[in-house]
Every structure is written in C-alpha cells, then in structure tokens.
C-alpha cells in the first residue's frame, strides 16, 4: 500500500514540475532553442489554422499548400480549419495557453486587439517593409489589420456587407429598381411600401435586419450618421452621443410601424435567402450561396452600397492572415504568407471560395468575372469599416447588441438603452 502511495506522489511531483516548466516555456521568448536545432537540418514544419469550415476553402487551401510544399520540399505545412465562434475561441485559447500555437492563423478581425496586445500575434512591419509586392495590396486590407500603429497581419478576405434587393419586389411595389434608397428616409419609405402582411403578421419584410444578437446594424447606421462609437486613440467608448441615439431611434420606427420580420443572426436562415425580404444587408458569401442553391429568383437580385446620411458606411467582417509570436519558424511562415498574397493565389481564392480580390491588379478581372455584383462590391469596399480595434471589442459588441435589442423590444427608449449599455461597459472595464 505504502509503495503505491509513494509512486503516486512521485508521479504527481514529476507532473507538477513538468507542467510548471512547460508554463514557463510559454512565457519565455527563447523557448524555441530546441526547434532551432531542428531547423539546421533544413526541415521546417508549419502549422496553419484557418477559421471557417467550408469545403471549397479547404480544397483550395490544401491545393495551394500542396503546390507550395512541392516547390519547397523542406517545408511541411499542417493545415487545419475550425468553425467560428465558440470553436475558434476555445481552440486558440488552449493552443496559446499551452504553448502549442499554430505558426499561422487566418482569423477574424475581432481577434486582433486582444491577441495583439497580449502578444499572441506578431507584428509584421519589418517583413512587409522588405516585401516587393507590398504596394499592390489594397489599402483596406492593411487598414483593418493595423493595431496601435503596428501591422499585425494582412486581410485576405473582406466580407463587406452591402444592400441586396429584389428587382421583382421593387417592381411589384411600383418602385424603380434602378434607384435603390439613398437616404434613411427613402429606406424607411421603401420598406413600408415593400412590406407584405397577413393580418398583422409581417410575412415579407421590406427591409430585414436581425433584432436579436445583432450589433452590425446599429454600428453601421450610427457611423452613417457620423458617430464614431469608439475612440480608438483614447481607448474609450463614445456611443452615448446624440448621433448614435438618433440612429437607434431611427430603427425603433421599424418596430413602431410593424415592419419587422424577426430573425437572429447566425441562427436562422436569413429572410432574404428564403425570399421573405425585399432588402437586406448581406455579403458576397450569400450571393454565392443563393446562386448555387439554384432558386428561380437568383437573377432578380440587385446590389447597392446602401444609403448614407453624413456618409455611406457599411459593416465588414474581415479575415486576416496573422503570424504567432510563439512561432519558432517565423521566416518560413512569412515566406508562405507571401505566397498566399501572390496574384495567382489570391485569384484562385476569389474564384474558388468567393474571397475578396485584395490585390490592386485584380480589380478589372473581378468586374469581368462578376458583372452583376462586381462593381457595386468594389464600390462598397471603399465604405467598409470593421469592428473597432480595441481590447474590449467583445464587450462593445455585447453593449451594441443589448442596446439594440432593448430598444427594439420597446423595453427602454433609445437614449436609456444606450446610456445603460455605456455605463455597463465602463463598469465592466473598471472605469
């Protein structure tokens, strides 16, 4: 019996020492010494984690990797992909916490501020400075991946949302499909005309937007109204101002006038896809999906960057290529990243996965390939802004969702909802 106990204790001690030293290894930058020895033989293994699970992208990326490793036989690339949200957060957190971070991450913009300021993502300025292709990448791709003056990555896909609308529904309501709404007033007016009800139930929305779990709509319209929402320089929230309140009040009119068809972002099939909405902000991805689904109204879709007030602004989710600070093979990782941004590879991703043509030289090619959505899309890209890049982006997102939801359900008026969300956010940040 004693014997067993002793063995158990010994094992426990060994393990405790093991985990402690391993934790230390995560934190010290020179923990890569053993791997460097491996490098001298010339063989490098890179791990590449992509957020997203679509099969098209998997095939495309795998093909790109195969081609690359064929040309560079000393490099081996382990590719894996993972779903957004819960999955991505959990996986990245465990990998970084345990010191097993992937060398390259293709992740969303929402991860940048936190992970860059924690030191998980590496700054790429020095690499980019020496890159001969650096001037051929569109500016937005750099802007969205810049944090506190440092370039932590390059966007490989910008999911700009733009106003999709149905030509047939417009004509049915006596509206000119070549004149999409330009102002907020027009948008509301059109929405009223386009809404179809059965009794009191809205069965087809004129202008559809999620009322639950939705931060994008408010962000986008507040920005259109000239609100900044977040002062990134001063690192503080500013969304308790008149302009944001006005934007939120604008949306409560849709509830008051019974123009809403309820759905939740990411949870429900969106009404436009189901044919239950005449206008909705959507992305290129949805365009591809609708085209591929073979519905008979696919050719009725029309596109516009949407209305504006002080300016036009649309919300964009951005997929960015990052490199891990923990990476033991940064040079090799950068070399592969450069390969991902060659014109050929970018175009392959455009064609096969519906990604953005982030190289300036590809714009004409893009318009040619997508005559219907192409021009509107490229125009929209200029107006696209992503999530504010602050460490508390997720708190900000929650605040926007809560305020929007509370106002839309009529639980609070716009000002109170925003004030409460603002105070809640600040108290959670400890301000």
């Amino acid at each position: 019996m004693k014997h067993l106990k002793v063995t158990a204790l010994l094992a426990a001690a060994l393990m405790a020492v093991g985990s402690m030293t391993a934790c230390g290894g995560v934190n010290s930058p020179d923990s890569g010494s053993t791997a460097d020895k491996g490098n001298s033989s010339g063989d490098v293994t890179l791990s590449f984690l992509r957020a997203g699970t679509s099969e098209d992208a998997q095939i495309a990326y795998q093909a790109i990797i195969d081609e690359y490793t064929k040309a560079n036989p000393n490099v081996k690339i382990e590719y894996q992909q993972i779903g957004f949200g819960t999955e991505l957060d959990t996986k990245l957190n465990t990998l970084y916490a345990s010191g097993a971070a992937p060398d390259l991450v293709r992740g969303p913009i929402s991860t940048i501020a936190q992970r860059a300021s924690m030191g998980q993502y590496a700054a790429l300025d020095d690499y980019i400075a020496e890159w001969d292709e650096k001037d051929n990448v569109i500016q937005t791709a750099y802007d969205v991946a810049n944090y506190k003056g440092k370039q932590y990555g390059i966007a490989i896909n910008i999911e700009a949302s733009m106003l999709f609308y149905r030509k047939d529904y417009f004509e049915e309501a006596g509206l000119d499909p070549n004149k999409p709404p330009q102002t907020w007033e027009e948008l509301l007016d059109y929405a009223e005309k386009l809404t179809v009800r059965e009794g009191d139930d809205v069965v087809r929305a004129g202008f559809a937007f999620p009322i639950s779990s939705n931060h994008q709509t408010l962000i986008q319209f507040a920005r259109q109204n000239g609100a900044t929402l977040v002062d990134e320089e001063k690192d503080e929230a500013t969304f308790n101002d008149e302009k944001t309140i006005e934007a939120l009040e604008y949306f409560t009119q849709y509830a008051d006038k019974n123009l809403i068809i309820p759905f939740v972002n990411q949870k429900d099939q969106n009404p436009f896809e189901l044919g239950n909405a005449a206008m909705q902000y959507l992305t290129l991805n949805t365009y591809v999906t609708i085209k591929a689904s073979g519905v008979d109204w696919a050719d009725q879709m029309m596109f516009s960057p949407g209305p504006g007030r002080e300016k036009i602004s649309t919300f964009g989710g951005c997929q960015i290529m990052f490199m891990s600070e923990q990476s033991k093979n940064k040079d090799a990782a950068w070399d592969f990243m450069k390969h991902l941004f060659t014109d050929d590879v970018v175009w392959k991703l455009v064609e096969e996965t519906g990604a953005t043509a982030v190289k300036t030289g590809l714009e004409d090619k893009f318009n040619e390939a997508y005559p219907d959505i192409g021009p509107a899309y490229l125009e929209t890209l200029q107006y696209t802004e992503g999530m504010p890049k602050v460490e508390w982006a997720s708190l900000f997102e929650t605040a926007m969702k809560t305020a929007f939801e509370e106002a839309m359900y009529g639980k609070k008026d716009a000002k109170t909802a925003l004030d409460d969300a603002y105070n809640q956010l600040n108290s959670e940040r400890g301000i």
Binding site: M15, G18, T34, F84, A97
Partner: protein
C-alpha cells in the same frame, strides 16, 4: 376485476403511445429532412414530407471525407473508454460502498466535487497537463520540448476515464445490497477481492449495462474535447466531422447533416437494444437468494 385491469393496461399503452410519438417528433423531422433536397428545405413554405425521398443524401454525406476513418476513430475511443471505465468505476464504486477505510467519505466527497466543476474551467489546465506529459510525444522527463499527448488517442481518452460519474453510479448501486451479503462472504472465508469478483461482479450486470450505455453516449457524442485535442483529419472523431463537413461559414447542408446524424445515432441505438435485456434482469433472476 380482471377486465378492469385490462382496460387500465390499454389506457396506459395508449397514453404511452401518444407521449412517445410527441417525444419522437424531433427525430421524425430529422429523418424527413435528411431525405429532402436543399431547395426544398430552403423554400419559404415549409413542407413536412419530401416530394421525393432522396436516399442518395446518405450516400453523398458519407462520401464527404473519410467516414470509415471517423467512425473507426470514434469506435476505438469509445470502446476503450467504456471498457476501462467499467473496470475502474465498478471497483472504486464497490470500494466506496462496501469497504470501510479511513478517509473514505472525504475521498468520496472529493470525487463528487470533481463532477461539479464545469469543463470550461478545467479544460485548459487539463490540456496543459496532457501537453507536458513527461516522456511522450517528444517530451523530455520534465514535459518540455514536444507536443505531449496533443493529437493522440490517449489524450482524448484520459480525461474521459477520469470522470467520477461512473464511480458514483456504481457506489449507489452497491449500497443497495444487503449487509448480510458481506457477512455471509466473511463467514465463508472470502476475501474482499474474491467477494467482489465472485459475488458482486456477477450481480452487477444491470448497472454495468447502464454505465456502458451512458458512458458510450457521452464519449461518442462529445464535441468540444476532440475539437481542441485533435488537429488532423486522420484522428478526427465523428461529432467533429459531422459539424465541420456540413456546417460551414457559407451555408449549412441540412439534409446531409441530418443524414449523417441519423447514421451516427445507429451504433448507440444498437448498443442500447443489445444491452436492454440486462436491464430487465433483476437481482433475483441472477440467482441471489434472500
């Protein structure tokens, strides 16, 4: 009297049938969806029955990726987990229930506590422990240098068999046994070991069958742990595969997803049907005399 009882039985059966049908509506929906085409699912008007049952969805679903491999992985991991758990848990459950020893209640209380902490909290410490497990996966004696048990079956299985759920279940079962049983064993000169193997284990069929079924469902259906533990397609388990193959950032292929899900349930269903006969086996029928 007799006819009254018969009537009661019929009523009970009718009630159960109705309940059961309501209960299974979600599953019918699953099967029906698995037979539809995507435009049919996406259509704005909901239709219950598919116009034409597309059994080809099942074939198409199974052609997405290496399903033989995923099933193999899940089968291996589940079988090993269940087997080891049955041994460890029934032993520990017996120890906690029948043998007096110092610190027994404290140790058991710790085991109970262990069940209560949400995995979200322990996940990262467990992961770090497995990553820095000494002398595995390129690690040195102090757990540095390699990837430890990341991306291995062992890394998947270890946390599963450490769960205290089965111990608790077995303990409660063994506590039901009459104390006279132990006394009789003592008089016969049986040691605790012999008593366990000769008397208790043979009487444990109902509980072991229950534990096997529950543990198998848990392991087979686990999603989060394999998701973070396994890095490549070769070792992927079915739950991770089913989500990553059919739910993408662009769209969800409901028909294939549901077809795959229906296929995934089958092995568990077969296991349940197979173990059912042990549930009906009461203690008396296994030969214990009062």
């Amino acid at each position: 009297m007799r006819s009254k009882r018969k009537l009661k039985n019929v009523l009970v059966i009718i009630l159960l049938t109705i309940l059961c049908i309501i209960f299974l509506i979600p599953l019918f929906l699953m099967i029906l969806t698995s037979l539809k085409s995507m435009p049919e699912i996406m259509a704005s008007k909901f239709v219950l029955f598919p116009e034409k049952a597309l059994f080809s969805n099942y074939i198409e679903a199974m052609q997405r990726g290496n399903w033989l491999g995923y099933f193999g992985n899940s089968f291996f991991v589940t079988a090993l987990t269940v087997l080891i758990s049955l041994i460890l848990n029934s032993m520990a459950g017996y120890g906690f229930a029948r043998i007096p020893f110092r610190g027994r209640n404290t140790l058991f209380f710790f085991a109970l506590t262990g069940m209560m902490v949400p995995t979200q909290v322990t996940m990262i410490p467990v992961f770090i422990n497995l990553k820095s497990f000494p002398l595995v996966g390129g690690n040195d004696l102090f757990g540095n240098g390699g990837t430890g048990m990341i991306n291995t079956y062992a890394g998947l299985i270890l946390p599963y068999i450490a769960g205290a759920f089965g111990v608790f279940l077995c303990r409660q079962f063994y506590m039901n046994f009459p104390a006279s049983l132990d006394d009789a064993a003592k008089i016969d000169g049986c040691s605790r070991l012999t008593a366990y193997f000769r008397i208790y284990l043979p009487l444990s069929k109902p509980i072991l069958a229950t534990l096997a079924v529950l543990k198998a469902s848990q392991t087979w259906n686990d999603y989060m742990w394999p998701l973070i533990m396994i890095n490549n397609d070769e070792k992927m388990t079915i739950q991770v595969a089913v989500i990553s193959k059919f739910v993408t950032e662009v769209n969800t292929q409901w028909n294939l997803l549901m077809a795959a899900t229906a296929m995934i349930i089958l092995p568990l269903l077969i296991l349940f049907l197979f173990t059912q006969k042990y549930f009906v086996e009461g203690i008396v029928t296994t030969g214990m005399k009062g």
